[in-house]
Each structure stands twice: as structure tokens, then as C-alpha cells.
Amino acid sequence: MSSEGIQNGGMAARSKASVIPPHLQLVNVWKRFGSEPNRTVAVSNVDLSIAPGEFVTLIGPSGCGKSTLFNMIAGLLPPDSDGSILLSGQPQPDGALLGKIAFMPQKDLLFPWRTVLDNATLALEVEGMSRRKARAKAESLFPEFGLMGFERHYPHELSGGMRQRVALMRTFLFERDLILLDEPFGALDALTRAMMQRWLLDIWERHKRTVLFITHDIDEAIFLGDKVMVMTARPGTIKQTETIALPRPRDASVITSPDFMEIKRRLLASVEEESMKTFALSRDAADRKTMS
């Protein structure tokens, strides 16, 4: 199961896989809620593997269990006992992943009582770094994150794009090799979003981290990823893994290239099929309700 994931990986993954274990590996991961007959299966039989330094994007219809999957990888939710999560080849028992992965949830979750600078240093403070050292470290990143001059501002004084960058900076400052991003640009307008995507790639190329990025935007998934994984409708599982061989660094013109279009056409069909399923499922449920 796992070898399949590796073979589907990008060039980088294939050449390294023989020497270095995958950075993150999920083997037969399930998450079921409740007990029969009211059992809900949120995530079923997920196998995936991400090589060190890889940028993997995950798309799927809304409510497909993406966030549940993310919470499990972040260590916030234990997977059911029949599966396992491995980090650099090491199995991770329940709770062991907490503090090992830089996790950025969908909402920016900036604390209104902290300045931008002190929001950015939150993870560092939790790790026990002194406030002075943490601030000094964060301050050096402000130009790169386009937030220079806003160190002493409070979150409510910032625009949506800036708040998102603060949240990203907070995640980056929590220096873990694996970063989980849950639809970080979902709430931004199209222009800001495109800008943030290019900016994120830039940062990623310089900092050399492994990224797993959830989105429901196919363009975004292709533009950013070395690999795009498509999740099925609930119960969520990985349906398809597409390697994106588009050259890097990528700029805006990539989006209109024939190669991009071809990949998009393939993925779109796959994703739409799943979206239709969720639609049908909810319609069935509604039908059943009206009948009973």
C-alpha cells in the first residue's frame, strides 16, 4: 500500500525514497465516530506518503473529512487503532504528534489581546523561549512576510490577507519540518489569493519545508503542488494522486499553459464526480427524511 504512494510521488520523492523514509506516511488510517447503527465514517482507509521537502496539495468536496484527516496528522485526534501514522519512519502513538508538526487551521485565530509581533511568537513562547528572544527572532521575518511596520498593531487593525500572513508567520516560526495548512487562503479575494500563492511558493522554496496543503480550489492545488491528491466524498479516502511535473519556479503564466489545462481537465472530472456524490448523498438523506 505504502509503496504505491511512493511510486506516485514526484521526481524528488522517487530519488530520495530509497535512502530516506517518507517524511509523513499514513497507513490504513480510519476515523469512525459513534457506534452502530449511527456510525459515521469520516475518513476511511487513507494511505499516503510525502517525501521530505515535497509540497502536496489535497482537494476534495466539502465535508469529505479533510479537516478530520488534518486533525489526526496534527495529533489533535487519534486515528482508529487499525491504522497508523509514521513520521520519518517512526510510528506515532496517540498524542505523540502534538508539538511535532506546524499546523495552521482554517481560521487565522489571532489573539486580539496580542500585538501582531506577539501573535507571531506564540508558538515560540509555548516552547519556553524568552519573550525577548522570540520577538527578536520574529522581527527578522517581518519584511519577508510583508508586515514590516505592523509589529505593534493589533489584529483588528489588519486586512484579511495580512492576518493570514501573520498566522502563516506564526506557523513558520514554529520550526517544524512538516507544515499542515488547512485552506489558508480560503477566505481571501481572488487577487490577494493569487498573490499569496506565489508568495507562499517563494517562502517554501527558500525555507525547504515539507508542506501538506488542503484546498478546494483546483487551480490552487495544481499551481502549488508537486503532487495533488483527490479525496472522495465522505467517507473520505484518497482516490487519485496526480504528479504535477510543471517546472519551478512557477509564475502566473503557468496557469494558462496547455499542460496545466490538461491536468486540470483530468482533476476536474474526478473532483466533480465526488462533489456530485455528496450532493446525491445529501439528497438521499433528505428524501429518506421526508418519507419517514
Binding site: 496534527a74 502534538l98 508539538g99 499546523f103 487551521p105 489573539f111 489581546w113 506564540l122 508558538a123
Partner: protein
């Protein structure tokens, strides 16, 4: 500059209304020849405050000490209990119905019992004020501590934060606006219960001054006591507003 102007803009109408009220009061008392034991005029009250400044300031000192002492102890107990309850959820389930039941009884109802237990001196008043403050601070702070959404808690957990880390970095700051509300309500309640307790049994304090003046049909001194008491609680309230800005600085 803008702030000072704004302050003036709100203070001016209030000041004018107050001056108008006092003038009308004084005029009515003089015009209709209302006897002082029914309703004295503001000027009479002011003169009495000056004449009786010894008794009044001694009483004020006692009352303020009791309120401040009880307020401090009650706030500490309320916040500490709220923290314990939020860290041990089963305890919360047991304690909260009880606390709400106690809270629905006005604390004044406990005055006779507390006088019996703690005597007629300052201890009984401090205990009553602490009790009145603790209950309302506990309920408000607990509500605030439970305010943060699970996503924010999970974010801190993903950074490896312990329960105490989450308490100090997230729950306590989030609870500050609620604590401030609790303090305001608690202050009003503790002032009331202290003055009432002093009236029902005590050796000093503004309540006792008012009580004794009433017994001697000295309505001017009663009024003087009431005015000093309200000025004092206004002053305390002002202090609390300043504290509010310190505790909830980000608004």
C-alpha cells in the same frame, strides 16, 4: 487632545443636568417651605457634611476598608475557584448549580447569620462583601474562561502547550472582559451589603452613622451619610473603569 475634548463633551451635559436638578431641588424646598426632617435642600446637606466631617470621614474610612478588603478577598476567591473549576470539569458540574442557587438569594439575606458568626466588627462586613463579590466574579470568570473556541485551544495543543499553558496564554486573557463585568457588579453588591450590615449591627461605618442619625430623627445627617456613601461608590466605580482599561487594553 481629542480625548479630553470628548470627555468634556460627555461631562458637560451631565454636569448641566446635575446643576439644574440641584437648583430646582433647592428652589422647591425654599419655595414650598418643606421642613428639613422631610426633605432638606442641597445647601443644608452640604453644610451638614462640613459640620459632621469628623463622624462622616471616620465612618467612610471604616466602610471603605470593609468594601476594599472584601472586594480584594472576594475577587481572589472567585478567580481562583473559576480556574479550579475550568481545570476540573467534573467539579464544575457539581458546583455550578449550587453556586447559581446561592447567587439567586440576595446576599443581604445572609447578614444576620454572618453577624452572628463573625461578630459586629469589621470582620463580618468584610466576609459579606467577599462573599457577594466572590459569587459574581466566579460565575463571570468561569464563563469567560470557557469562552475560547476549540480551534484556538487545538492550535495551542498543536504547539505542545499544556493545560496550564492554555490557561495562561488563552483562557485567562479571554476571560478578562468577563472578569471586569463581574467586578463591576460585585462592587455594587458589596457596597450595598456592607452598608446594610453596618445598619443592622456594627460599631462604625457610614451605615452605622445613617442608622444612628435616623434613630435621633436627624434627617440632615442621614442625608449627609447617603451623599457621602454615593460619592464614595462613584469614586470606586471610577477606579474600576481605569482598571478595566488596564485589564482589557486591546479594545
Amino acid at each position: 487632545m481629542a480625548i479630553r475634548l470628548n470627555g468634556l463633551r460627555t461631562a458637560l451635559p451631565v454636569g448641566l443636568a446635575l446643576a439644574g436638578l440641584l437648583l430646582a431641588w433647592e428652589a422647591a424646598v425654599r419655595l414650598f417651605g418643606v421642613p428639613a426632617f422631610v426633605l432638606p435642600g442641597p445647601s443644608g446637606i452640604l453644610v451638614t457634611i462640613a459640620e459632621k466631617s469628623n463622624i462622616l470621614s471616620a465612618g467612610l474610612l471604616v466602610t471603605l476598608t470593609e468594601v476594599a478588603g472584601g472586594f480584594a478577598i472576594g475577587t481572589f476567591i472567585g478567580v481562583a475557584l473559576a480556574i479550579v473549576l475550568v481545570l476540573v470539569p467534573p467539579l464544575e458540574l457539581m458546583a455550578i448549580p449550587l453556586v447559581i442557587a446561592i447567587n439567586s438569594v440576595p446576599s443581604v439575606a445572609f447578614v444576620p447569620l454572618v453577624l452572628l458568626w463573625f461578630g459586629l466588627g469589621m470582620a463580618s462586613k468584610i466576609a459579606l462583601a467577599a462573599f457577594a463579590v466572590a459569587i459574581v466574579v466566579l460565575l463571570n470568570t468561569l464563563q469567560g474562561l470557557k469562552r475560547p473556541e476549540s480551534e484556538a485551544i487545538n492550535l495551542l495543543r498543536s504547539f505542545g502547550a499544556s493545560r496550564f499553558g492554555i490557561l495562561f496564554r488563552l483562557r485567562l486573557p479571554a476571560a478578562m472582559p468577563f472578569l471586569v463585568t463581574g467586578l463591576r457588579v460585585g462592587l455594587a453588591r458589596s457596597t450595598i451589603v456592607v452598608i446594610v450590615a453596618e445598619m443592622m449591627g456594627g460599631y462604625g461605618g457610614l451605615g452605622q452613622v445613617i442608622y444612628q442619625a435616623t434613630a435621633m430623627m436627624d434627617s440632615l445627617t442621614v442625608w449627609a451619610g447617603v451623599v457621602v456613601a454615593s460619592m464614595a461608590s462613584l469614586g470606586l466605580y471610577g477606579l474600576l473603569v481605569a482598571l478595566d482599561r488596564k485589564l482589557v487594553w486591546w479594545r
